[in-house]
Symmetry: C2
Subunit: 247 residues, 2 copies
């Protein structure tokens, strides 16, 4: 009979996942509710947990996302490691760890991951210690458990840096979309209004979108022209970036 090996949790290292979602209107982030603590404090947290000693960090991130929120197969990129010795200092956080961890006092360094997905493609389903799991609008989040609010800000910065050097939107918009929808996506990520004419001019200059003969149908306003991504150009820019200092 094969001996079943129970994987061993590493008490000192966790991963946390910042999964951004887009619903054609706003940027959201996947959060779990860990339930009420007697000490009060934020109930919402990024999905995260300790790693097992036999898995690598990417595997841990994928496993934990699945365990807590029922979400699979997301391409994750590292945000970085967060290791302030006081990152677990709030009373509510300590109380919560007492209830779920074998060594609740251990120093924990966390490695954060992020991704940006189309919200409609994923239906979070809470399990394990998550009471609920769901999408929250990024602009409406003001506090989170542990240092998760700080991690969220750094992940937002990474996302913004990324869209400055690479195109974005391929898996976030419908196959045929309007430039207003693409504009909305960029505004949501950058969290600031972008001049519409300027934006259109830049996008067209990059050559990543191709105008179609079709227009929108069944809309209460003047129908807009539909576009699709120019896959070849989009791929090339995704790979090489569009800095103008490319030797």
């Amino acid at each position: 009979m094969q001996k079943k090996v129970i994987p061993e949790l590493n008490p000192n290292v966790s991963v946390d996942c910042v999964i951004f979602g887009f619903d054609l209107d706003k940027l959201t982030v996947l959060l779990i509710d860990r339930g009420q603590q007697t000490q009060g404090g934020p109930r919402l947290a990024l999905p995260g947990n300790l790693i097992y000693n036999d898995e690598n960090l990417d595997q841990a991130a994928n496993r934990i996302l699945n365990e807590l929120a029922g979400i699979n197969n997301i391409y994750l990129e590292q945000v970085g490691a967060f290791g302030d010795p006081n990152r677990i200092c709030k009373e509510a956080d300590k109380e919560w760890l007492q209830s779920i961890r074998a060594e609740p006092e251990a120093r924990v360094i966390t490695v954060a991951y992020y991704s940006l997905v189309k919200m409609a493609d994923y239906a979070p389903r809470a399990s394990s210690f998550a009471k609920t799991a769901g999408w929250a609008p990024v602009t409406q989040i003001f506090e989170l458990a542990f240092d998760h609010y700080e991690i969220l800000q750094v992940a937002k910065d990474k996302l913004r840096q990324k869209i400055k050097i690479q195109p974005i939107g391929f898996n976030l918009l419908p196959e045929k979309f309007t430039l207003s929808q693409l504009h909305k996506l960029y505004e949501s990520i950058l969290e600031k209004p972008l001049d519409k004419r300027n934006f259109r001019r830049k996008v067209q200059k990059l050559g990543i979108v191709t105008p179609l003969k079709e227009k929108q149908q069944g809309v209460p306003h003047k129908p807009s022209r539909l576009y699709k991504f120019n896959e070849e150009k989009y791929e090339a820019l995704s790979k090489n970036g569009y800095d103008n200092f490319d030797f």
Copy 2:
């Protein structure tokens, strides 16, 4: 009497530092020699060690760099976390850990940092478990202890990404320099030849260099014009980057 608290090492988390140096001719990296192992294997390693439980990751990186190589006050940026469960698999690495660690079998996740400095500004001085510390040309490194060779490659990629969106060279070249020297710096980092005319045209277009009336003196070839950085422009581009998709 004040009780002296002996700081406690965290057995599961280390930092490793990739300090790139430039000497006007080539890109180098700071390595330590950990001495001969009976099992053979690479003797050279990035300076790195376990973190203390009362310090944050940035502090750990600075402390360890100082302890192993006598180098202080370097601005370090994170490369990322490396956590393959098999990152400590070579026999020589295991043997070495037996000689320096309390828990040599522990799973260790490492957080890598990097920086790029002018070699002439720093004179490495080995101490602690480093037998020697010094600069090695990046192009002549083919293996290192643990996963340090892989970490070095990822750090090189980060550096290359960075110089594609931000100017570089301010603290790496003399105050007055030739465009050939700047060209050499970029070639060294990108590890490929760059067309000289193209390079000059791009640098001048960015406006980061200002030509001086002076020329080189005492050189065995036709003296070249000297330049200095346009600090204002350089700062602005360092902050905002020079992508052409800046909304």
